[in-house]
Amino acid sequence: MAGSAAVVVEKLSKHYAGPPAVDAVKGIDLEVARGEIFGLLGPNGAGKTTTVGMCTTRVVPTSGRVTVDGIDVQGDPPAARSRIGVVTQFNTLDRSCTVFENLKYHCRYFGMSHNQAKARASELLETFRLADRADADVMALSGGMAQRLQVARSIAHRPVVLFLDEPTSGLDPQSRIALWEVLGALHDEGTTVILTTHYMEEADQLCDRLAVIDHGELLVMGTPDQLKKQVGVATIVRLSLEGDREAAVAGLVPLAGVDRAEVVGDEVLVYLAEREGPLPAVVQAAMAFGLVDLALTEPTLEMVFIQLTGRALRD
């Protein structure tokens, strides 16, 4: 029901007449619950930014509908904008204004009084550790600080849904982790967050649920664990053996709970259908082939993507 979901996307399509004519988004359906961190995962050019653009009033859909907090985005863009915060891929800070003014005037646009706006701006500067830069020119900020300011600005009016388009691309690892913490805190406060990314780890660590998008189509949707289960295995055991690896594979495959096994480089990879059940038997069998070392790895979203599209995410 539209009322309980934060964002509902129905049969959303975007066709660009071109040239070249492009179907950037081809009939996407999805629903994001309140309080969720939802990720749109896909390679560059998959249609993620266009989808976010349609959710945030900036791109006019060719067909379909987006509802944010019960508001039809196309029907009433200003009302939709009052409920969303947006961080785009680009630095869109107001260069004619200081750090503090960027926040203050944003609050004014969203109807706060002069005093409310000042108070909120000061509060955000503290929260985002930018207080000592209050009067700085926004062009003098580092990439990480500029990004923090953009996020601070996007939530200044306390939006119901926060959209972030590739929020960490171009950030150094430290700033990336800092941003993850901020998003985590917003999540704890109950803000719905929708982000696009082509970083697997980010999608995996941050998102409650994910939709994998490629060529404008939604391929699969679910929690990171659900998606990884799609690969068909729960755990991958990497074995370093002194003995005959081919023989080990032949010996391991028949074991209960083993999906398949293969030699990859110096190691034997054993794919387990369940997480822990088959492990003791595998270890015991491996001993016979001179087990030297053993490591467990989870299936990754990369594997999900490769399985779905036949190619790697960052091609």
Binding site: V60, R81, F90, G111, E189, G190
Partner: protein
């Protein structure tokens, strides 16, 4: 102005969200944009003054001081002083220039490179109102320019101007002229890209200035009839002639219903073009 009430969801099972949405009216958002622009303008006031005053000052300096000194004084038609011709003309050009400088050129950059307009476009009011704010704020700067240039020309030594101001008509002309200038700026700002900026000067600024009835009343062009007809497409002609009617009516000028009426038509056309251009640049 339309209010934009934040309505509760009629079919929600869980109506209380963790994030209270602030009820926003278009008026508050519009006011916020104006406050921001005022702050930015106040910070660059010196720049505003210089770009507004220098050109008309040099004009009166050369034509009303240097030329008479070197024995090349120019006169207006009949017994009118050249200062009398120039006063409404220079006020008109100050108004029109401001629209291009305060609205047009900054927008060209904001759309193309800096994207800083983004945050204002995402404010909770219709896109057309964000565009209209640009026109309105540009118009205010034009009006300020008019207020600065008018006394400068009037009291310039040797200007020899004898105005007979019709205050009501003057205010009406200035309001319409300033809004038209803002609309021209919006149309330029949304229709041109940064590489074309030099062309804006060659193709728009210079022709409309030289052929804008600043240095001569329109009626005196009757001896060059084709030119007199041709320049009727220039909005600055109606601003100059309208102000002439309101400030120095002793000089020949277009009847005010004509100058004002045509200017309203042209201004509306530019406004429509600018708003449409703004929408196109902002929406994908």
């Amino acid at each position: 102005m339309t209010e934009n009430p934040v309505t509760e969801n009629p079919v929600t099972e869980n109506p209380v969200t963790e994030n209270p949405v602030i009820a926003v009216s278009y008026r508050a958002a519009f006011w916020g944009l104006m406050v921001r622009d005022t702050k930015v303008l106040s910070r660059s006031l010196t720049q505003f003054l210089l770009r507004t005053v220098i050109q008309p000052f040099l004009f009166v300096f050369v034509f009303l001081y240097v030329f008479p000194k070197i024995g090349a004084g120019i006169h207006g038609p009949g017994k009118a002083s050249f200062g009398t011709v120039l006063l409404p003309g220079l006020v008109a050009v100050a108004i029109m220039f401001q629209g291009i400088q305060a609205v047009g050129l900054p927008l060209v950059n904001e759309f193309a490179q800096t994207r800083e307009i983004e945050d204002r476009v995402m404010a909770p009011l219709p896109t057309s109102m964000v565009a209209f704010e640009k026109i309105l704020f540009g118009a205010m700067q034009s009006a300020l320019a008019a207020v600065l240039v008018f006394p400068m020309v009037l009291f310039f030594p040797n200007s020899n101007v004898h105005p007979h101001v019709n205050p009501v008509l003057l205010v009406a002309e200035i309001i319409v002229a300033c809004l038209s200038a803002g609309a021209l700026g919006l149309a330029i700002g949304t229709g041109w890209n940064p590489r074309q900026v030099p062309l804006i000067f060659s193709l728009i600024v210079i022709p409309i200035t030289f052929l804008g009835c600043i240095y001569y009343p329109w009626a005196s062009l009757h001896t060059v009839r084709w030119l007199q007809i041709l320049i009727l497409i220039n909005p600055l002609v109606y601003v100059s002639e309208g102000l002439r009617g309101a400030i120095t009516p002793n000089l020949q000028h277009m009847p005010w219903p004509v100058s004002l009426g045509v200017l309203i038509l042209i201004g509306s056309g530019l406004g429509w073009l600018g708003m449409r251009g703004f929408r196109r640049r902002v929406l994908d």
